[in-house]
């Protein structure tokens, strides 16, 4: 239908509505923007690199109780994401090109208000941020919330320090051969990184966010025989890692020199024979209140299976190192636990990109799922 013919038809329809025609039983509306209920600890942020249109990544925001899709945050080209310490802001370190896929490159930290999901500011950063799949540790805040630490890769590795109070980039700290940012939970000026020689790099910032000290620990894991997944979770200032073959490592960052716990195995010798191993992109979660550790596990593990979805999720008591439960794994490639006293465990189903919700207060029980949620998501973060 041509425009000149359609025009009068629309005009007539509007006129009928405006005159309060007898069929207008539905109340007349005006479009507005939805307001969010205050965030709860059961709100989850699912970062989706959307690899088939990677220039246009997004973060899905979902309420874990109702499974209502609350809204979206734009993460642009391979954007990395993290919440602020108080949960009021959400940061996206990302890249924009002036002509979408070419032209001038601009890297920024976009700031979103989690009460509205609106973009409220941006901070320019050096055009080096890691354009990577989303792993926890590529973008983190210091414990006091003052600085945002941005993993860079050119592919030389460094960390950009952004002052969140002054809203400006402060310094770039070279971290050659090392990866991720692991913020100390008791000394906010300190962070660590995992290094390719099996050591931990420990960096201390001064009050302005510039490098004050840097030291390498002794080797504490064997990156050749049994590499560590880069994701860490903390209980206090003890930071936990798992290895490809299923050992738990820990590093205490409360002192200037890290103290390492004795590695222990998630698997019995019989399970090791069947090659039960952790797998995925975010293979561990902890509930800090109860010291429980959740791990995504698959059997028949082998070289190259380290990103495979879970056949089971195993639950451990971190203090006694005892396994307390095994449940079906929901094909999880990433998991994250809320930290309230009625915790949920969120799992991302790697096969169909659905969000699976477990109640985790006592026994871990799968309750509901939202399918599909994402295109190619790898990172979950829960509201503090």
């Amino acid at each position: 239908m041509s425009t000149w013919r359609r025009g009068p038809a629309i005009a007539l329809a509007v006129a009928t509505l405006a005159s309060g025609g007898s069929w207008a039983d539905v109340a007349i509306e005006q479009v507005t923007t939805a307001k969010l209920a205050p965030a709860t600890p059961h709100r989850v942020y699912v970062t989706d690199v959307a690899i088939s249109h990677i220039v246009d990544g997004r973060v899905h925001v979902v309420d874990g109780d109702s499974l209502k899709y609350l809204g979206m945050i734009a993460s642009a080209y391979a954007g990395q994401t993290t919440l602020s310490q108080d949960g009021r802001e959400f940061y996206v370190a990302t890249t924009y090109y002036s002509r979408l896929s070419r032209g001038e490159r601009t890297d920024v930290v976009d700031i979103y208000d989690t009460a509205t999901l609106a973009q409220v500011g941006e901070i320019p950063i050096p055009p080096k941020h890691a354009q990577a799949l989303n792993y926890k540790g590529i973008l983190r805040t210091t414990r006091d919330g003052r600085f945002l630490l941005v993993q860079n890769a050119t592919p030389a590795t460094s960390v950009s320090v952004v002052d969140l109070k002054a809203r400006k980039f402060v310094a770039e700290i070279p971290t050659p051969g090392c990866w991720t940012v692991i913020p100390s939970q008791s000394a906010p000026q300190r962070f660590a990184a995992l290094c390719g020689d099996g050591s931990l790099l420990v960096v201390t910032l001064d009050g302005d966010g510039r490098q004050a000290k840097m030291a390498r620990s002794a080797k504490f894991f064997d990156p050749d025989d049994d590499p560590l997944f880069v994701q860490s979770e903390n209980l206090g200032d003890e930071h936990l890692f798992v290895s490809f073959k299923g050992k738990v490592y820990s590093a205490d960052l409360s002192q200037e020199t890290p103290r390492f716990g004795s590695p222990w195995s998630l698997v019995t010798p019989a399970e090791a024979k069947k090659n039960w191993r952790p797998g995925g992109y975010q293979p561990i979660a902890v509930h800090r209140g109860t010291h429980r550790l959740f791990v995504t596990m698959h059997p028949n593990g082998k070289e190259g299976s380290h990103k495979d979805p879970a056949q089971e999720i195993w639950v451990f008591d971190f203090d006694s190192k005892a396994r307390i439960q095994r449940v079906k794994g929901a094909n999880a490639v990433s998991i994250s636990a809320s930290q309230d006293d009625k915790p949920l465990l969120f799992a991302l189903d790697g096969k169909n990109m659905g969000l699976v919700v477990f109640e985790a207060a006592n026994k871990l029980v799968q309750k509901r799922r939202l399918d599909p949620l994402a295109e190619t998501a790898f990172l979950l973060e829960t509201q503090p």
Partner: protein, 174 residues
Amino acid sequence: MRWFDDFFERGVRGVARRTSRRSALTRIGRLLVGSAFVLPVLPFDRIARTAEAAQKKSPPGETSCDYWRYCALDGYLCACCGGSASTCPPGTEASKVSWIGTCHNPHDGKDYLVSYNDCCGKGSCGRCLCNTNEGERPAYRMGLHNDINWCMANTDSTMFHCTTSVVVGLAEKS
């Protein structure tokens, strides 16, 4: 593993591959760090093509994720995007840096070093996503890591389009 198959509906799985070429991987990792990731790029892989032609049943070809040299690839196969296993699609630019895999060629029984160069400058190809991880390591071993955009060092545009698998040499036995 090809668990992405379930989601992205690609073809049948097939060729079993050898594992554990750790010493070669380590050596290459060191080489990469030491040489700022600049790699020699050898001519096309004629060995595989010859061997492939000699087979009665056609083995997985270069548009299949099961093709032997795709053993540590995470990306869209350039062979489905207008290029080939070792060429970038028209109008894109090969990445200046790459990660390295060691893949077993079942046709001649040899292990080859494979440079996974991304092709850059246009948005994602979106065809034939392949995710394999033999010998893949976290980014603290950057030269063996495939979850990062290897267009990152290109100056015109770091936009990721697809991934090639260029044979760059024979791997020594571990």
